[in-house]
């Protein structure tokens, strides 16, 4: 029990809001400062999803993970910047501020959990929560040189996570080491009846670094066209290191990867188009102009307070769900999702994990990718794990041009233990 005095020199613009004096209780995380992504509801702390439309919104309840953190004694110090409604790969779509990559302030921190990653990488907090819909924990972890876990779908309650694409997203831990990541995961994992997709699978937190005898599948698609050569070589060296510890490397192929990005963007935008209908200005956030008629007021409100990427995704999702297009896009995307899941499950029934790069490149300079499709394509290696619902970890494994590279470790659904153990084992032998 005590009170944490948190003085913040936020030179990377990682936070959107923070507290100075934070009372905390006893427990496994007693007194440890933890930062929370701003799409996770915090009672009495503004929660904006980095959007103008939620400016001033103070949730009347805590997300389940926030209640668990408080019960573990953690000191929740503040809310971190992100892409608006978690829609982005660089945190550049935030309506409020530009988060800098602590490793090189001319480069993006990755996204959408860029504020959480920068807060950890910049030594402002030892651990943070992010959310991952198509790579939003792993991408910034990779770009900023920290560890991030997207848990198995259902292992962490989404109650109080402001929804973007429900069938894909999970809240997950971010920290500098696998040990701290596992420690934070052990607090937030477990069943919550308020999330119908929640499974009963708490995490015990005991890490085992054994690499000998582990079977590692390495799909050729993770090293194909579009993957930066330096990134490829760095990750292959890391996998060689794991092999030299006695792991068996199994080359493989995941042909359905060619559909992954299209399927992901059809599904996430469709779910977003539905989810974001609730931001109507009547109940929370910026208030609607009551003098206009409903459609005029609603349209003008959403045009004024949603940013361009959010509006683009609502439009795309509406398109893929619209009469005449549903069969061609949404239905086909679900078929692709089934294929991808089947192929991942098949490989993971014969191997302990799949390994490859987290991102096809290192963190790029601000403004480098202005075209939406070019930006979407950087998610190619992270979206399959969300489509298949399987756990995936990013662990730093070297540098290219002085910037960190992430090794991605993907496991079978429910076996977050395996990906954390392999990440821990690699961390032990990493030069």
């Amino acid at each position: 029990m005590g009170t944490l005095s948190f003085s913040l020199d936020d030179k990377y613009n990682a936070f959107l809001s923070h507290k100075k004096e934070i009372p905390f209780g006893d427990g496994p995380l007693s007194g440890i400062p933890v930062a929370i992504k701003d799409n996770i509801s915090t009672l009495d702390m503004q929660t904006t999803c980095a959007s103008q439309i939620l400016k001033g919104y103070i949730p009347p309840y805590n997300a389940h993970v926030v209640d668990l953190l408080l019960a573990s004694g953690a000191a929740i110090v503040g809310k971190t910047n992100m892409d608006e409604f978690a829609m982005g790969t660089t945190t550049e779509t935030s309506a409020y501020t530009k988060t800098l990559n602590p490793r090189d302030i001319t480069r993006v921190p990755g996204g959408s959990s860029g504020g959480s990653a920068a807060a950890v990488a910049g030594d402002l907090v030892p651990m943070a929560l992010g959310s991952d819909t198509g790579g939003s924990i792993r991408c910034p972890a990779s770009f900023c040189g920290i560890v991030g876990l997207k848990p198995s779908y259902g292992r962490v309650s989404r109650y109080g996570l402001i929804a973007y694409a429900n069938s894909l997203e999970q809240i997950g831990p971010m920290a500098k080491s696998v040990t701290e990541t596992a420690q934070l995961f052990s607090v937030i994992a477990g069943h919550d009846p308020r999330d119908a997709s929640s499974i009963t699978a708490p995490y015990e937190g005991a890490l085992d670094p054994e690499l000998k005898g582990k079977r590692i599948a390495v799909p050729e698609e993770f090293f194909g066209a579009g993957v930066h050569q330096g990134v490829s070589e760095t990750v292959k060296t890391a996998i060689d290191t794991i092999a030299s510890e006695g792991a068996e490397i199994i080359p493989c192929s995941i042909p359905s990867m060619r559909y992954a990005l299209s399927a992901y963007y059809v599904i996430c935008t469709s779910e977003a188009a539905s989810n974001l209908g609730r931001f109507d200005g009547a109940r929370y956030g910026k208030a609607l102009d009551g003098k206009k008629s409903w459609h005029d007021a609603y349209q003008d409100h959403r045009m004024q307070y949603f940013g361009p990427e959010v509006r683009r995704r609502i439009l795309l999702g509406t398109f893929s769900l619209a009469a005449g297009y549903y069969g061609r896009y949404y239905h086909k995307a679900q078929t692709a999702r089934q294929m991808i899941t089947k192929e991942y499950n098949h490989i993971l029934s014969k191997a302990d994990a799949i390994m490859g790069p987290t991102m096809p490149e290192i963190a790029f300079p601000f403004g480098a990718k202005n075209d939406p499709l070019t930006m979407y394509q950087t998610d190619i290696l992270t979206v399959p794990a969300n489509l298949a619902g399987v756990p995936a970890l990013s662990v730093p494994c070297g540098e290219v041009d002085g910037m960190p590279v992430g090794l991605q470790i993907i496991g079978a659904h429910g076996d977050d233990e395996m990906v954390l153990n392999l990440g821990y084992g690699y961390e032990m032998v990493r030069s």
Partner: protein, 91 residues
């Protein structure tokens, strides 16, 4: 190929509002994105493999649990009247 009329129609369906400059830009972007999505055209019904989620039939007892008070529910609106949310006229 996406036309300007498609974009205007979709914008109306989802009530996000749209201006002339955006219509031109989005028409071009959506044409590129939909061309990219056309890889999905290769898939047929025979590629479907049925349900993949291991979770099914999540039931719970229909018990009353505490929920937000009226004050809490109204705490974030600027348009509350007599304990209700006030919305613009629909008709």
């Amino acid at each position: 190929m996406v036309t300007k009329d498609d974009v205007i129609h979709i914008a109306k369906l989802c009530d996000v509002g749209i201006n002339e400059r955006e219509i031109a830009q989005l028409t071009e972007q959506f044409s590129d994105i939909l061309e990219f999505w056309s890889t999905l055209d290769e898939l047929t019904e025979s590629d479907e493999s049925g349900r993949i989620s291991k979770i099914s039939n999540i039931f719970r007892e229909d018990t009353v649990t505490p929920s937000l008070s009226q004050e809490q529910a109204l705490s974030n609106t600027e348009n509350a009247t007599d304990g209700y949310f006030k919305a613009p006229r629909v008709m």
